[in-house]
C-alpha cells in the first residue's frame, strides 16, 4: 500500500479505548478479496488458524498472504483459492514432512504465486511499515539472486559510505494475530516468541486479534510489561480457545503432531494432491457448523494431549 495512504488509514480510523469484541464471522468480514493480509506466528507456532479457517469458509479469493515461514496452512489457502500469492521466506509442510507438493504445484505452474524474501528481509519490510518509514537499509540479501529477483535498490550511506540494500516497507490491509490473552479493548499479551506480530500489528491498516482468553483490563494493567500490542492498533477482538489448532500456541498447547502427520503423510501418498486437499477442506473447513465443531473433528483426546504436552506454568 502507498506510504501516504497507509498513514492516512491510521490517522482516520477510530483508535479509541472501546469494546471491540465481536464474532469470528464479523471480524473476518473486514477482509476483502484481493486484500494484502499479514498472518501472525511463524511456521506452525501461534498461527491464527481460526481466522484463516473463516477466510476459507467465507470464500475470500485472491488474497496476498504474508507470513515469515509458511506451513500446511499455505496448502489450504492455495487450494481454496483464498490465496493468490504467498509472500514468505520459506514454504513447506515441515522439515520432517518434506517439501509441500501443493506449493510446488502452484509455484511451478506460476512462479509469481510464491514471492520469496529472506526472513530478515521480510521482517524489515514490516519493521519499516511499523515505524512509518517507506524503506530501510540492510546488508542482508546483498549480492544474492534474491536481491536481483526482488529488484531491490542499492544505496550508499552518505555518512559512512557503506553499500546497502533498501528494503521497501509493507503496510498490509489487515494483520491477523492470535495471542494467549487480551482484554476487550485489544491490549494483547503474547507469551513465548512474539515472532513478527508486533511489527505487523503496527504496519497494518486493520488488526483482527483472536485470543485464547479475554481477561479483565485490570489484569492487563497488573502486568503492563507483558503487553505487546496496545489497544489502538486493534480493530476486532475474538475470544477463540484453541484458535491455532492443529498448530500450537506457546505455553497452552503443542501442535497436534499426529494430525499434522496424518495430513502430511496422506498428501505424500495421494495421487491426486489437489483432490486430497479439497477433501480435507470439505471435511475440516466447509462442513463444520462452527469453530467448536471443527475442533471436535480432532477430538477431545487430541486437545487434552496437546495441552498436557504444551502447558508451561504459569501461562
Amino acid at each position: 500500500m502507498d506510504y501516504r495512504k497507509a498513514r492516512q488509514e491510521i490517522v482516520e480510523k477510530n483508535k479509541g479505548i472501546r469494546d471491540k469484541r465481536t464474532t469470528l464471522e464479523e471480524a473476518v468480514s473486514m477482509i476483502n478479496d484481493k486484500d494484502h493480509v499479514a498472518v501472525g506466528g511463524l511456521q506452525y507456532t501461534r498461527t491464527p488458524m481460526g481466522v484463516l479457517w473463516e477466510i476459507i469458509r467465507q470464500k475470500k479469493q485472491d488474497i496476498t498472504f504474508y507470513k515469515p515461514l509458511m506451513s500446511f496452512e499455505g496448502d489450504w489457502l492455495f487450494v481454496s483459492g483464498a490465496m493468490g500469492k504467498a509472500v514468505t521466506s520459506w514454504f513447506s509442510g515441515g522439515v520432517t514432512w518434506g517439501v509441500s507438493k501443493i506449493m510446488r504445484t502452484f509455484a511451478e505452474r506460476d512462479p509469481s504465486t510464491f514471492e520469496e524474501w529472506s526472513l530478515l528481509g521480510l521482517s524489515l519490510r514490516f519493521k519499516a511499515g511499523a515505524m512509518g518509514i517507506p524503506c530501510i537499509p540492510t546488508k542482508t540479501m546483498l549480492g544474492s539472486d534474491l536481491e536481483k529477483i526482488r529488484g531491490l535498490k542499492r544505496f550508499t550511506c552518505p555518512y559512512s559510505g557503506e553499500e546497502m540494500l533498501l528494503i521497501p516497507a509493507v503496510n498490509p490491509d489487515v494483520a491477523i494475530i492470535h495471542s494467549q490473552i487480551a482484554d476487550k479493548y485489544g491490549n494483547a499479551q503474547i507469551f513465548g516468541p512474539p515472532c513478527l506480530d508486533i511489527e505487523t500489528a503496527k504496519a497494518a491498516s486493520k488488526v483482527i486479534l483472536t485470543t485464547e482468553q479475554i481477561v479483565d483490563n485490570e489484569h492487563i494493567r497488573d502486568a503492563p510489561n507483558s503487553t505487546n500490542i496496545p489497544f489502538f492498533c486493534v480493530d476486532a477482538v475474538v475470544e477463540l480457545p484453541f484458535g491455532c489448532y492443529p498448530h500450537e500456541c506457546y505455553g497452552r498447547y503443542e501442535p497436534a503432531y499426529e494430525k499434522l502427520g496424518e495430513y502430511g503423510q496422506g498428501l505424500l501418498k495421494a495421487e491426486d494432491k489437489i483432490g486430497f486437499v479439497q477433501e480435507y477442506l470439505d471435511k475440516y473447513f466447509y462442513q463444520p457448523a462452527d469453530f467448536p465443531e471443527y475442533l471436535d473433528l480432532f477430538g477431545v483426546r487430541s486437545l487434552v494431549e496437546a495441552t498436557r504436552r504444551g502447558r508451561i506454568w504459569p501461562l
Binding site: 520459506w90 526472513l119 506457546y250 508451561i312
Partner: protein, 256 residues
C-alpha cells in the same frame, strides 16, 4: 574402529568444529544435532539461537522444527524474530550452521529452485533465515551429504551468498559477514583458498580417498598440500549422539 554411518560421522565432524562459548544459529536437522551434540561433548556453554525467537534454550528432545515452542523451552529470552535476525547483522553470531540443496565452488547455497525461478524444475522451500545467516554470521559452516548433484560448479540460484564469483566479490558487494569457513560432509572437510575463494579439500575422513571425494564433486576440486585425515568418531561420541536421536529421524544409515 567403531562402526558408524555417514550421517553420524558428519554430525560428529560438525560438532567438533564448534567451540565452547560461541553464539550460533543452527538450522533444523543435522546442524542442530551437531550443536546439541557439541554441548554434550565439549561445549557446554555453546549458546544456540533460533530465528523464531529462542536464546540459549535447553533442548532435551530433538524438535521437529527449530521454530516451535518445544525448541525454545527454558530459553533465557524470547525476542521477536526480527530482533533474532538483527543479532546477525550486528555481529553477535559467531557461527551460522547451514545445509542446502546445492552448494557451489565458491560456497554459494541454493535452497530456492532447481532450474530457473521463472521455469523451475523443482521449486524448493526457499531461504528462511539462510540468506541472512550466510550474509551476516561471523563465519558459516555448511553441513551436507556429499554427492555430485549437490556439489555443482555454479548453483542454479544464489539463495545464500558464499563468496559469490570468488576472489574479492563478496567484500566488493558490501557484505560484512565472514562467509563460509568450512564445508563438512560425510567424505571430508573443505575450506576456501584465501585468494580464489575456491573450495579446497583439506581433510578426508578415515578410509575415504581423495579420488572418491573428487569423483563425488561436480567441479574440479583442488586438494590441499597438507591434506589431513580426520580422527574417527569415538565410542563416547557415538553413544552420546545416538542418545539424541533414538528414533533415527536424522541419523539414518542412507543419504541424509
Amino acid at each position: 574402529m567403531s562402526d558408524y554411518n555417514p550421517a553420524e560421522l558428519t554430525v560428529i565432524m560438525g560438532s567438533r568444529a564448534l567451540q565452547d562459548g560461541q553464539i550460533i544459529f543452527a538450522g533444523a536437522g543435522l546442524p542442530l544435532l551437531s550443536a546439541i551434540h557439541a554441548q554434550k561433548m565439549h561445549a557446554p556453554s555453546l549458546a544456540i539461537l533460533f530465528e523464531v525467537g529462542g536464546v540459549a534454550p535447553r533442548i532435551t528432545s530433538l524438535p521437529r522444527s527449530t521454530n516451535e515452542a518445544r525448541s525454545v523451552r527454558r530459553s533465557v529470552a524470547t525476542p521477536a524474530t526480527i530482533d533474532m535476525m538483527l543479532y546477525l547483522q550486528r555481529g553477535f553470531v559467531d557461527v551460522g550452521f547451514l545445509g542446502g540443496a546445492q552448494i557451489d565452488r565458491h560456497g554459494n547455497i541454493n535452497s530456492s529452485c532447481i532450474g530457473t525461478l521463472e521455469k523451475p524444475k523443482v521449486r524448493l522451500p526457499g531461504s528462511g533465515g539462510a540468506n541472512d545467516i550466510a550474509s551476516s554470521a561471523n563465519r558459516v559452516f555448511i553441513i551436507s551429504y556429499h554427492e555430485k548433484r549437490r556439489f555443482v560448479e555454479k548453483v542454479d540460484f544464489v539463495t545464500s551468498p558464499g563468496f559469490l564469483e570468488g576472489g574479492q566479490a563478496r567484500e566488493k558487494t558490501g557484505l560484512m559477514g565472514g562467509g563460509v569457513e568450512k564445508v563438512i560432509t560425510n567424505l571430508g572437510i573443505m575450506e576456501f583458498d584465501k585468494n580464489s575463494r575456491s573450495m579446497t579439500l583439506t581433510a578426508v575422513h578415515p578410509g575415504i580417498t581423495e579420488e572418491e571425494v573428487r569423483e563425488k564433486t561436480g567441479f574440479e576440486l583442488p586438494v590441499a598440500e597438507d591434506l589431513k585425515t580426520t580422527t574417527p568418531p569415538s565410542e563416547e561420541e557415538l553413544r552420546s549422539l545416538r542418545a539424541l536421536d533414538p528414533e533415527k529421524r536424522y541419523l539414518k544409515a542412507g543419504d541424509f
